[in-house]
Symmetry: C2
Subunit: 192 residues, 2 copies
């Protein structure tokens, strides 16, 4: 079950078998049924998760009740509320499974321990955070400059397999547009 994680780590850094075992042993597996929550607003996020099966959405509920999806996490992606997890602060986010899912969880304490103990892991996460930061910068620039049509087309082109697994409510909420407007966009696009 932890094969995915082993593979993921090995792709980025070279650890001895022993280090790799030690790292992976710090994770505990958890199954999460569709529609149930890994984290709810108001809680403190005590885990960082590596998804081995299924699909999660990480989202915020605004004061007017509107849900805004920050990101999705599928197989071989990490899922956490970075702010709440690193600062042990109260979370403003929800993390919910959109399919029956499985995830490997590491606690804050164990992660800090492993940073001290296996410095290459610190490198792994530094590089990872850099990559997600670059992607987020790109996404923010796109959101501010591109039209909704283009955002949608880019999304289904960039994440073809993921977009198959999502309904239009989820996609609209990720793109920051209303699902009614997404429906109109789809009509316009697919008629052409």
């Amino acid at each position: 079950m932890k094969d995915n994680l082993r593979q993921y780590v090995s792709k980025s850094i070279s650890l001895s078998d022993r280090e790799l075992d030690e790292f992976c042993d710090l994770f505990q597996s958890s199954t999460v049924k569709k529609k149930s929550f890994l984290l709810k607003e108001g809680e403190v996020c005590e885990f960082e998760g590596f998804v081995t099966k299924g699909l999660f959405r990480v989202y915020r509920v605004h004061s007017n009740g509107v849900e805004q999806i920050l990101y999705f996490a599928i197989e071989n992606w990490w899922v956490t509320d970075l702010d709440s997890f690193t600062n042990a602060s109260v979370s403003k986010l929800h993390i919910q499974a959109l399919e029956d899912s499985e995830v490997l969880l590491i606690s804050r304490k164990d992660k800090e321990y492993v940073y001290e103990h296996i410095p290459k892991i610190e490198k792994l996460f530094r590089v990872m955070t850099q990559k997600t930061h670059i992607a987020l910068q790109q996404r923010m620039m796109d959101n501010l400059s591109k039209t909704a049509d283009q955002l949608y087309l880019d999304f289904i082109e960039k994440y073809p397999q993921l977009s198959q697994r999502l309904n239009n409510l989820q996609i609209a909420s990720y793109l920051g547009i209303s699902h009614e407007f997404l429906s109109r966009i789809r009509k316009k696009i697919f008629i052409k």
Copy 2:
């Protein structure tokens, strides 16, 4: 001149005097006149910079000619194109001084060297990248959910000293709205 940098590092991690000297010696100081560029689109970003004086804007020029500001950097902030610097790829960004400025620059090679040589520095930058990532997540959610009025009010409240040093063209470009609309917002707000 490197006192700011020494202080900045010391606040986050504890290095020996020797390590601190070694780290700071890798930087070379550079003065940048108002309106001149530290980086232009099409170049490869060969530096990461620590601003000791002045003000920079990091921005992209979209195909229609519209400028979108990704972020500003003032004293004690870092400035680089993270994507271009880490991947040695061609930059899509411009980095321009908005005031007469001074910046301490470290090269890609030296930064990689220091990661190997002083692991605490790796920690420093991991934590730093995490923080900026959290801030960017917040900014993206705000951009997607808040009205332009609110974005502007939040900006001048969050960065009071910075917003004093910027004209409304720059602020509008950062918020992703037209400067004409910002002008109307200001009228509406300050009349109340």
